[in-house]
């Protein structure tokens, strides 16, 4: 259980709060999407949860322990995080990268069991044929899969991802979402991810947390969030929602008449 206790944060004194008294918890075993407009505080919340950022006030508890006070490797065995920007200057092959996922357990000296877990993670994301390729030789989708394999090799209950679909075409985006869905269903992982496309969130996730101006606006199932009045409050624009083949679709891309921008 990740329990966020009234977390607030601003990047410097006097700046508007990027997180404003956020209190929310994530019980194990679900895929949760954090959605909202740019600057709503989704990524900051994810950073605070994964102790990449120490919030100005409030605390994040991982199974009752403050993540900033717990031993680093203990947290790393329970929670893995993948950030948006993964530029790595070292010359790494795919398998080298995935092996880093075992660092919390091995401090860099991998046991035969670690190697087996690494190979399984590679197989799981379908990267075994590419295991000895260098990262700079891969396409965006392959790279992202390699990073997800690293996160899986870390063998944690919680997986946090910041916009894992960034720069991916729709085929690769769908593949990544299916992969994460399977990780939750088959491997029992708890996945929390920042997403931009509300429709992707609605089709793959169990729960959607929508944020605006550093606050949680709504927190519920896709059916509860995918309503025109809710979306208009979250994104500040009129978005008609239709049911197409049993699937709720927010038509934010709808052509004429253009969705009128609300005065914010």
């Amino acid at each position: 259980m990740i329990d966020i206790k009234s977390v607030s944060h601003s990047y410097f004194d006097g700046a508007p709060k990027v997180l404003d008294d956020v209190a929310i918890d994530f019980p194990p075993g679900q895929v949760t999407a954090l959605v909202g407009a740019n600057g709503a505080g989704k990524s900051t919340l994810l950073s605070a949860m994964s102790r990449l950022l120490v919030p100005g006030s409030g605390q994040v508890l991982l199974d009752g322990v403050d993540v900033t006070k717990a031993a680093p490797t203990v947290v790393a065995k329970r929670m893995a995080v993948l950030r948006q920007d993964n530029r790595i200057s070292a010359r790494l092959s795919v398998v080298d990268l995935v092996r880093f996922g075992r660092f919390p357990y091995s401090s860099g000296r991998l046991s035969p069991e670690c190697h087996e877990i690494v190979e399984r993670a590679l197989e799981y994301v379908d990267m075994t044929p590419m295991r000895d390729c260098f990262l700079d030789e891969l396409s965006g989708g392959q790279r992202q899969r390699a990073f997800i394999a690293m996160v899986l090799a870390q063998d944690t209950d919680y997986i946090l991802l910041d916009e894992p679909l960034n720069n991916l075409d729709m085929r690769h985006a769908a593949a990544i979402m299916q992969l994460l869905r399977r990780a939750a269903d088959d491997l029992g992982r708890t996945v929390i991810l920042v997403l931009h496309d509300i429709n992707v969130a609605a089709s793959y996730c169990d729960r959607i947390v929508a944020m605006r101006d550093g606050r949680v606006v709504i927190d519920g199932s896709p059916d509860e969030v995918m309503r025109a009045e809710v979306l208009s409050e979250v994104f500040g624009m009129q978005i008609p929602v239709h049911r197409v083949s049993g699937q709720l679709l927010a038509m934010h891309w709808a052509p004429l008449p253009a969705p009128a921008l609300q005065a914010v």
């Binding site: 994964s50 990449l52 947290v75 790595i88 087996e116 190979e119 197989e123």
Partner: protein, 343 residues
């Protein structure tokens, strides 16, 4: 093993105990071959340095040359290892302690010591004490400087390079100013302290610096595997459970001590570290610091011993090693900036 891993093992020829594939083992073999060649080259140049063209008394020549050789090895290894490690914690292939103005800080500290305490204080102090005082001051100030730089400008590489160059010139100007205030005698003392050259080596100083350099490199050993993770960047490293700030701080302390050691022996050589660290990364394409750091040390030794050998026997001492290193290294630095790869 599961069925899945069995299939993978079959396709890739995975080694069951180490989990390495055929391709990986080939890469390892080629790295090992490079390391052996490097070692042989080092040994060859060292032997040549000792034995080439000896005229007159062999015992005198060997005694002098072995001392020179020892100091070249200490400097090369210390500069190579520390520069490579510094690149890793700075997260950039262009930044080395030299580029960040560290050498000029050393000159400044020496000048200030001489002008504040007077040259007699330095001479009374004795070599080991003087060295320890220097290194402590340098490590202290260097640490402050680096921490401030990394905290304030951690996002922008070009700002860091610029600040490093500006800070370097600032220290140099201050040192020049301070040295103008000295009497000619004091100035002469300062010069001998600053540029104890390769050709005249103080045995006592050599002993102390070699001991400290060995200690410093020993202190790097337990950090090496953690530095692999540091190379992934702060966020990824933190996510993997690395105490990022602690590791970076410890590494910075060791780096400052190593750089101080080599600078105390032979004075500043601005671009040696940059040249050596990047060469090392090029000849062994791996991310592993357990390989990279020793190779950088060896390349450093090759550069100093080989370079000094050429300076002595080919250029007939018409030039000095630091001039050659700075010429080649400076050009290489410009090339790196223009190409701007892997910033």
């Amino acid at each position: 093993m599961t069925a899945v891993s069995d299939r993978a093992s079959e396709i890739l020829g995975l080694h069951p105990a180490t989990g390495t594939s055929v391709t990986e083992r080939e890469r390892l073999r080629s790295i090992r071959r490079t390391a052996v060649i490097l070692g042989l080259l080092c040994a060859g140049f060292a032997a040549a340095y000792l034995l080439w063209d000896v005229k007159g008394s062999w015992s005198y020549a060997l005694d002098l040359r072995s001392r020179q050789l020892a100091s070249l090895v200490v400097v090369g290894a210390a500069v190579g290892a520390s520069s490579l490690v510094f690149q890793t914690i700075a997260g950039s292939r262009i930044l080395t302690p030299g580029v960040m103005g560290f050498d000029s800080l050393y000159v400044l500290i020496q000048t200030v010591i001489v002008s504040v305490l007077g040259p007699s204080a330095l001479q009374l102090m004795g070599v080991p004490e003087r060295f320890i005082l220097n290194t402590a001051l340098l490590a202290g100030f260097g640490l402050l400087l680096f921490r401030w730089l990394f905290r304030a400008h951690s996002r922008n590489l070009f700002v860091l390079v610029l600040v490093g160059i500006v800070v370097g010139s600032f220290f140099t100007s201050l040192a020049t100013f301070a040295s103008r205030m000295l009497s000619p005698d004091d100035y002469l003392t300062l010069q001998t302290v600053l540029f104890a050259s390769f050709t005249t080596v103080d045995v006592q100083l050599l002993g102390v610096t070699a001991a400290v350099a060995v200690l410093g490199m020993a202190a790097l050993v337990p950090l090496l595997r953690r530095l692999d993770v540091v190379d992934l960047g702060k966020d990824a490293a933190t996510g993997l459970g690395l105490d990022y700030h602690r590791i970076v701080t410890i590494t910075l302390v060791v780096v400052t001590v190593l750089v101080a050691t080599s600078t105390a022996l032979v004075g500043p050589m601005l671009f040696l570290g940059l040249l050596v660290a990047n060469l090392a990364r090029q000849i062994v394409p791996t991310h592993r610091h357990t390989v990279l750091v020793p190779v950088a040390g060896a390349v450093g030794v090759l550069a100093t011993v080989g370079g000094q050998f050429l300076v002595t026997h080919v250029f007939a001492l018409n030039t000095t090693l630091s001039v050659v290193v700075n010429l080649v290294g400076g050009l290489y630095f410009l090339y790196l900036l223009l190409k701007a790869v892997r910033l």
